[in-house]
Subunit: 349 residues, 2 copies
């Protein structure tokens, strides 16, 4: 399956299927005199005698999020430069979303910008394969330093997903759920039906592709992160706070955040737009730790959401809610009301 | 004097005159909710009770080139982020070319890009006020990490030049000479005539402006650093090697490199296109350390020019030479021939 981005210019192909890396890689690398493979350390370790055995001399990146800290990033750049990187080169970035972020930012900045492609190796990375955002982390938060720099292509070989631990599958699947919710009711129903007994990789392949397409629609209609692109934050406002406080994988925290967003949506819509019990059972069945929602401290969460150091008690919090599946909107919720929503949700569980 | 850049989009004004900072700054800052002043430590120290007294709470950058090392740069970003920088902000970068490079790169990358203006404080910075190049240094060389990110404006207040040390004036003036050579014979003659008794700031103001215009022409005709933009490297191939080996200010080393380029041009043209004795006397009169040329080790210089770790003795070296004033061209010179040119030049002095 091949998806072409639809920007005004600088488009690229996202190819999604099993076993495609070996077939497709040369089509990219053949165009360059110089190719560097940047691989997540852990991914390389897992696949160096298998799918990645064709790579000689990879530049290994710190595993996952660790690659996104300043020291790891400056080491990556210095390693590239010590290897004699030249402007007309291709970086092949192999790893999850973090590797894509850090490797993409290296491509954006080394010699003021070189080409790269991304070979995502996690389910979560389907989400970051679109959008052209690259970034590293600051002491003050994630993704605060970066650039917009689109890859020349994304080769999403689903074989890599076979070696993912359960928690990584659950984390990535959270974004698949989000994209279905942003798409429409049919997408949600089809996804929940297909996965009611668990997440089988071969079953969710079409949903991954649809998720990429939905994300692309949102990004295209709003390249600069105002308006509709904000809808992609569904579940993320509370999700980020949960992720930070409970050190939970991103997409798992987002899934908890999605449940809360559906609860709040019902409250704001003043009707049962979403069958909360059905969603709750479904999430529990898949293995999401929904019981953590009962432990949330509303005021702590809201402070984290608003990065509020003064612990104000009034003011508004930006939030993505749903009028229905496929109809998200941005709203601002008063802190006191949001506190009540979170507490009421906890009691309802 | 106001020069507008002539890009397809993203144009900005470069204003050059004495005493304009105080008049013009508000026109920029008024458009933003949030303004951060990033000032070279040394410049701020010199002017905090004078021209810069209106600034409260500047973010001080390391002096000059020291601001362009990774640690200084990451500190700068973290300071901005700890100050709560938001996307709709303006950074006002005050300092020479190095401050412009590092501050501009901070603007390019913090929150994936915010606006900035540059307030150059050196003569050399007239050169970097055009082109949109931002960068920091790697362990492996200068400007190897960066981005293209144009300022929203350049306020070039010549009052700052009054406090420059002599060596900084000579350094910046080297690029003024280069721009005259790239322009035409009239520009060279006028410049040499106006400065035959020394460099008076008020006399060279129109030449600074012409230099900016010449650089802009080169950049516009070739935004991607192939073709004509390369001509801006006149004097830089050898100049960078001299700068590195003798730790000489950039533009002073470039001036020595320009002399060598004129010598080599005469050799390649097989005629006395340039009156070398006249140039030599002129440069000596202004205070350039021309005698250093006599000490050059040709093979060391060529190794540095080509970043050649293997010390090959054959191969070609890219070089900018002049068919005449105003007619530069890129050529490749065989190492052996280049060695002979350098040695012959040394003997001719």
């Amino acid at each position: 399956m091949k998806i072409m981005t639809q920007y005004k210019d600088g488009n690229y192909a996202i190819e999604v299927a099993r076993g495609i890396l070996e077939d497709r890689i040369d089509d990219y690398t053949d165009k360059y005199d110089q190719v560097f493979y940047l691989a997540d350390k852990n991914v390389y370790q897992l696949h160096k005698n298998g799918k990645l055995s064709f790579i000689e001399d990879p530049i290994l990146m710190e595993q996952g999020e660790a690659s996104k800290y300043f020291d790891a990033f400056s080491n990556l750049l210095e390693t590239l430069l010590s290897s004699g990187v030249q402007r007309n080169c291709l970086l092949v970035v192999i790893g999850g979303g973090a590797a894509g972020d850090a490797g993409g930012f290296a491509a954006a900045t080394v010699l003021r910008g070189v080409d790269y492609i991304h070979v995502p190796t996690t389910l979560l990375a389907h989400d970051s394969s679109i959008g052209g955002k690259t970034a590293i982390n600051s002491r003050y938060g994630k993704n605060l330093i970066g650039a917009f720099h689109r890859p020349k292509g994304v080769i999403y070989d689903l074989d890599f997903l076979d070696t993912l631990p359960e928690s990584e599958i659950l984390s990535g699947f959270g974004e698949v759920i989000k994209h279905a919710l942003l798409k429409d009711k049919d997408a949600v129903d089809a996804l929940m039906d297909a996965t009611k007994d668990g997440i089988e990789l071969d079953v969710i392949e079409p949903f991954i592709i649809k998720g990429i397409e939905t994300k692309m629609e949102h990004v295209l209609r709003d390249e600069n992160e105002s308006g509709i692109r904000k809808h992609l934050n569904l579940g993320h406002t509370l999700g980020h706070a949960i992720e930070y406080r409970y050190r939970m994988p991103h997409g798992i925290a987002v899934t908890l955040g999605i449940y809360a967003a559906l609860y709040i949506s019902n409250e704001l819509n003043q009707e049962d737009t979403f069958d909360l019990a059905h969603f709750y059972e479904y999430f529990i069945g898949l293995g999401y730790p929904m019981e953590e929602l009962k432990a949330l401290d509303a005021s702590d969460m809201i402070s984290l959401m608003t990065k509020d150091k003064k612990n104000q008690t009034s003011g508004l919090v930006g939030y993505i809610v749903m009028e229905d599946a496929g109809r998200a909107r941005f709203t601002e919720i008063d802190r006191q009301q949001l506190t009540k929503f979170i507490n009421d949700m906890k009691e309802s569980l």
